[in-house]
């Protein structure tokens, strides 16, 4: 039996179930108590679990993650919230130089079972509030990086992330918290790996993750109306990165479009494209297309912002390009 719930509710269920199951799990972050989190994920948690397990912190991102690393080595399982991924940059040293490396540097003596929940997103928030940094974290060995698109994944991944002995960057998205989707009744865990083919098709493969997945699906539906069948892959986990699923799909469709919200330069798309040309070069019938943001700090004004972030139309156009559609029409 499955039910339809929102992405936000799926996250709440995961947190509740894990907090109920394991005393060592506690939450820490800015405005997660009475305010219930920047995106209201921890609604009701302060009343339910009390101040010991739901801690409001000073505005000190570096301390939040550094303390979580310490608390994890001290035997707890901290789940911290950083308001947005933009502010995770303040904690970069503790994430990259410490969380990611402690297990290795101690030759396996200490694990750092922390989960860093944070949100990507944009929407008239200006240059330092609208960035997309999953590729930065996915670059780092020792971190696991998860970026779920659906409520089912959000719940299953968050529960597994909390139980994982590795540090997990759990990246949500401000524009999909209200999205609804089917979530199984009862307990389930999802392994923190593997891309998923969400729509089968034969003409082209469209790859994305998080909110980009919804753009890809929207584009696929529109393309279907003109007889183009796109296969849509949701990457779901960005480290470890499951390029095998993409390669298999490209072997079938021979064409690939990668959709990301970040700047394309050195982004996830570049990595995926590199893997595909290594493993499926002979199968490609067209250069791989990447759809991403214009390479500019995000402007606040709505009319400029709209130019920067890719929409469904850009995805559709990229698909036509790899299918040489416009050329064919011109002939």
């Amino acid at each position: 039996m499955a039910r339809e719930i929102t992405y936000r509710d799926a996250l709440r269920e995961a947190l509740r179930e894990e907090m109920d199951r394991d005393e060592r799990v506690f939450l820490m972050g800015e405005d997660i108590g009475a305010y219930e989190g920047s995106y209201v994920v921890t609604r009701g948690f302060l009343q339910e679990y009390g101040r010991k397990r739901v801690r409001d912190t000073p505005i000190s991102e570096l301390a939040i993650v550094g303390l979580a690393n310490g608390a994890a080595m001290g035997g707890l399982r901290p789940v911290v919230e950083l308001m947005t991924i933009n502010f995770s940059l303040l904690a970069m040293d503790q994430i990259v130089n410490h969380a990611a490396k402690i297990h290795y540097m101690f030759n396996g003596q200490f694990t750092v079972p922390i989960v860093i929940r944070t949100a990507s997103g944009w929407g008239q928030l200006g240059a330092t509030h609208s960035q997309t940094f999953e590729a930065w974290y996915a670059h780092v060995p020792g971190l696991r990086v998860v970026m779920p698109a659906t409520p089912k994944d959000a719940k299953g991944f968050l529960k597994s992330a909390i139980r994982s002995d590795d540090p997990v960057m759990f990246i949500e998205h401000s524009l999909i918290y209200r999205n609804r989707g089917e979530v199984p009744e009862g307990e389930y865990l999802l392994p923190l790996e593997g891309a998923e083919v969400r729509r089968e098709g034969t003409d082209v493969t469209i790859v994305s993750w998080s909110r980009g997945y919804y753009l890809a699906m929207g584009a696929a539906e529109e393309l279907a109306r003109e007889g183009i069948e796109a296969e849509v892959i949701d990457m779901r986990v960005l480290r470890p990165l499951d390029t095998d699923t993409v390669v298999r799909s490209v072997q079938k469709t021979n064409r690939l479009v990668i959709v990301e919200e970040s700047w394309r330069t050195l982004g996830m798309g570049a990595e995926i494209a590199a893997a595909v040309q290594e493993q499926a070069f002979d199968y490609l019938d067209a250069p791989i297309a990447r759809v991403g943001s214009v390479e500019v700090p995000m402007p606040y004004a709505k009319n400029l912002e709209r130019l920067v972030i890719p929409g469904k139309d850009e995805v559709v156009a990229a698909v036509r390009e790899v299918l040489y559609r416009d050329l064919a029409a011109a002939r």
């Binding site: 000073p58 505005i59 928030l125 214009v294 606040y300 130019l307």
Partner: protein, 340 residues
């Protein structure tokens, strides 16, 4: 120097002119406070009407900001504000028209041409330095500007503002430490409204006065009633004079009130006690200063009515001007990504 004792909310607002200020300066202070408040209120109206996506307020901070601003010399000092400092940037010369253009992100917005969020004030010609959204980062910039001024032997004081919540960041502590070691001409002004969004001061720090932290860095620290512009001016003036004379930095903490939600994206009813808010409203700095000025005979009802009418006309004009202004030109999207 006036020490504000924390039990003393509601202490008298002074309306006698201290050293360096005339009675007409006091009336000008009042005008700036009313202008800041009225402009802020109009911004909320535009937000609620769906025209301004984001507003962040100075309401409750006006006396602190205007009192402090009067201690500075906008032609040569540098202001490194944070997002509540509408009162300060008005004193530094940004006009209501310019600020409305910024609010509505129009092409002619002199702070960023529509690139920055509202409240991120910056204008080179006004000696106002824009900040980014991560809190307290501007405190380091101000320290660096003071370093440059000292290096170049310029007669410049850098003045920076930050909320008490921002003082939890390493940026704040590292800036104070550096500024004090090098005796830099910078003043750190903490506008303590008791909240960082929903988090009350007692969950942000285990001390009552942020200014107590100054001792740890070896600089003077002063806590002042931020509802009294003259009291703020007095301590600010002393700090600015000291910085200008080579005496190094000062940490000033003004106890203020946040009379609105954190921003237009926030609903503070989930975490603020309505009684507390009511008590704070009763201490509204504008009401207090007005009463004090009238009692001293510095301001009359007729003068006040005249000031308010003038300000209303100015704000009406600014609103209309900005509403009719064009949006940023898409052709300029890539302009200024690089400077060379």
């Amino acid at each position: 120097m006036k020490q504000f004792d924390s039990g003393g909310v509601g202490i008298e607002t002074r309306a006698t002119a201290p050293k360096g200020l005339t009675e007409s300066d006091l009336v000008r202070m009042y005008e700036y406070m009313v202008l800041a408040r009225s402009l802020d209120e109009r911004m909320w109206l535009l937000n609620r009407a769906g025209q301004a996506p984001f507003v962040i307020s100075c309401q409750g901070h006006e006396a602190a900001q205007v009192g402090a601003a009067f201690s500075l010399q906008p032609e040569k000092d540098v202001l490194v504000p944070y997002y509540r400092d509408l009162g300060m940037v008005l004193y530094f010369g940004l006009t209501p028209r310019e600020l409305m253009l910024s609010l509505l992100a129009r092409k002619g917005d002199p702070t960023s041409a529509g690139r920055q969020m509202p409240g991120h004030y910056g204008s080179r010609k006004h000696n106002v330095i824009t900040g980014s959204s991560p809190v307290a980062t501007q405190v380091l910039h101000a320290t660096g500007i003071a370093l440059a001024a000292k290096y170049r032997r310029e007669d410049t004081v850098a003045w920076t503002c930050v909320g008490e919540g921002g003082t939890s960041q390493g940026d704040f502590h590292e800036a104070l430490n550096f500024a004090s070691i090098h005796r830099l001409p910078v003043v750190f002004f903490v506008e303590n409204n008791g909240y960082a969004i929903s988090v009350p001061q007692r969950k942000q720090m285990a001390i009552e006065n942020v200014a107590d932290r100054a001792a740890g860095y070896g600089m003077p620290g002063v806590t002042v009633d931020g509802g009294d512009p003259v009291a703020v001016y007095t301590v600010a003036r002393e700090a600015v004079d000291r910085a200008r004379a080579g005496g190094g930095p000062t940490l000033i903490e003004a106890k203020v009130q946040r009379l609105t939600a954190h921003s237009s994206d926030d609903d503070d009813r989930t975490y603020r006690d309505p009684e507390e808010l009511k008590a704070e409203r009763a201490q509204d700095p504008i009401v207090r200063f007005r009463a004090a000025l009238m009692e001293q005979g510095v301001l009359t009802e007729a003068q006040d009515a005249d000031i308010r009418a003038r300000i209303k006309a100015q704000i009406d004009d600014a609103t209309e001007f900005a509403e009719q202004a064009p949006y940023p030109d898409p052709a300029e999207l890539m302009l200024h990504v690089y400077g060379s």
